[in-house]
């Protein structure tokens, strides 16, 4: 397994008894994220037993079923709480949480900000497709204002959450935003997120053309990938734009990187101190 790359490598890590091809729609970015996650874990040289993938409910929840690591499929919005428990019990395990935007910012919004505040050493991959894809295309907290969905047929009137700003404000240790079009960068971000101590968030913009695209003038998956290619630019270039141009573009890159020690490290240090003192 040393010299493998690309698809060969990914096939080594898949559970081939789980009815492939997977359930995602044709052109869904979730498959690309799955590949990226596998490449990142292989790139870091972690063994299958050292990694735990926790997933919530939604399209992204299926991701955990396909990979041959320790995996947990949890209740809606509570993926981070399960992950917190796993990390506290097994601090040497690399816990990776895969959540959708509804899972992480709607029903699990509370857990997201508190996991960031606690700085627990898990890595959260937030697969943001701007919509509740699995349940029929209802608007989610990240549906951009003015865009259309099943429940907002005349246009969304509410503002949307900016995941990166939310997590930065909640003091997460590592905050980055990548897309499924810029895969090499995404690999790097996930690797950094896993190896950085403390809470890491990687927001991944992934297209949902089935529910979001066809209501918003992106009829095919290819249209959505072209949109990602055009609209998402590097943060350095984004900073140089005028205010009017900034509204049309989405910055991607690493927004916050700190190396504060995580909660589990502090906890075990405290435990050692108490036992030593007694």
């Amino acid at each position: 397994m040393v010299d493998m790359k690309g698809t060969q490598l990914i096939h080594e890590y898949l559970r081939h008894n789980k009815k492939f091809p997977h359930v995602f729609c044709a052109g869904c970015g979730h498959g690309i994220v799955l590949g990226s996650l596998i490449r990142s874990i292989h790139g870091l040289g972690l063994s299958k037993d050292e990694v735990c993938v926790v997933a919530g409910i939604g399209c992204s929840g299926r991701l955990a079923a396909y990979v041959d690591f320790n995996t947990v499929h949890t209740t809606h919005g509570r993926a981070l709480t399960f992950a917190t428990g796993i990390k506290m019990a097994k601090p040497n395990m690399h816990v990776i949480v895969v959540m959708g935007d509804g899972d992480s910012m709607a029903i699990g919004g509370n857990h997201l900000i508190h996991a960031a505040r606690r700085n627990i050493g898990v890595t959260a991959l937030i697969l943001n497709n701007n919509i509740y894809g699995m349940t029929g295309g209802q608007c989610s907290p990240t549906t951009p204002a003015g865009s259309f969905s099943m429940t907002t047929p005349l246009g969304q009137m509410e503002q949307s959450f900016d995941c990166v700003e939310l997590c930065s404000a909640a003091k997460a240790n590592y905050v980055a935003r990548g897309t499924v079009f810029h895969v090499k960068k995404l690999d790097k971000m996930i690797m950094d997120g896993i190896s950085n101590p403390g809470f890491g968030v990687v927001e991944i913009l992934t297209p949902c053309h089935t529910q979001y695209g066809r209501k918003n003038k992106y009829r095919t998956p290819v249209d959505m990938y072209k949109m990602l290619k055009k609209d998402v630019i590097d943060i350095d270039r984004y900073e140089k734009l005028s205010e009017a141009d900034k509204a049309k573009k989405v910055p991607s890159g690493v927004f916050v990187q700190k190396d504060d020690s995580g909660l589990e490290e502090k906890f075990y240090q405290m435990a050692a101190k108490c036992q030593g003192g007694a």
């Binding site: 690309g6 060969q8 096939h11 898949l14 091809p21 979730h30």
Partner: protein, 109 residues
């Protein structure tokens, strides 16, 4: 250590796994892939492949494999997928629709 030169790589598509999203055909810089009448990707100009790896990285279904031509050995896991597709094509037990799909992918690929 991959050399980005034309004609040095083999492109394999697993017809069973391809869902026909068209990402590979739309973005391939050398236009190696095209969609067939079933809507699935097939390799039409393999000699043009410059081994950039775009399709391999961006295929959401892990259905494309690009390998150097000298490397003959297909890893066991991938071989199993290909063999399954071949069985469907050859075997008399295969149901009509699935067999046709697999066959069309196979012939052109």
């Amino acid at each position: 250590m991959s050399v980005k030169r034309k004609g040095n790589s083999t492109v394999t598509i697993f017809p069973d796994w391809c869902k026909g999203c068209g990402i590979c055909a739309a973005f391939c810089p050398a236009k190696v892939m095209e969609l067939n009448d079933q809507g699935k990707a097939v390799v039409v100009r393999e000699e043009e492949c410059i081994n950039c790896g775009f399709c391999e990285l961006h295929c959401p279904d892990f259905a494309i494999m690009v390998r150097p031509k000298v490397d003959d050995e297909i890893p066991a896991v991938c071989r199993a997928v290909l063999e399954k597709a071949a069985r469907k094509t050859d075997g008399p037990a295969a149901s009509g629709d699935a067999a046709k799909k697999a066959a069309s992918g196979k012939q052109k690929g």
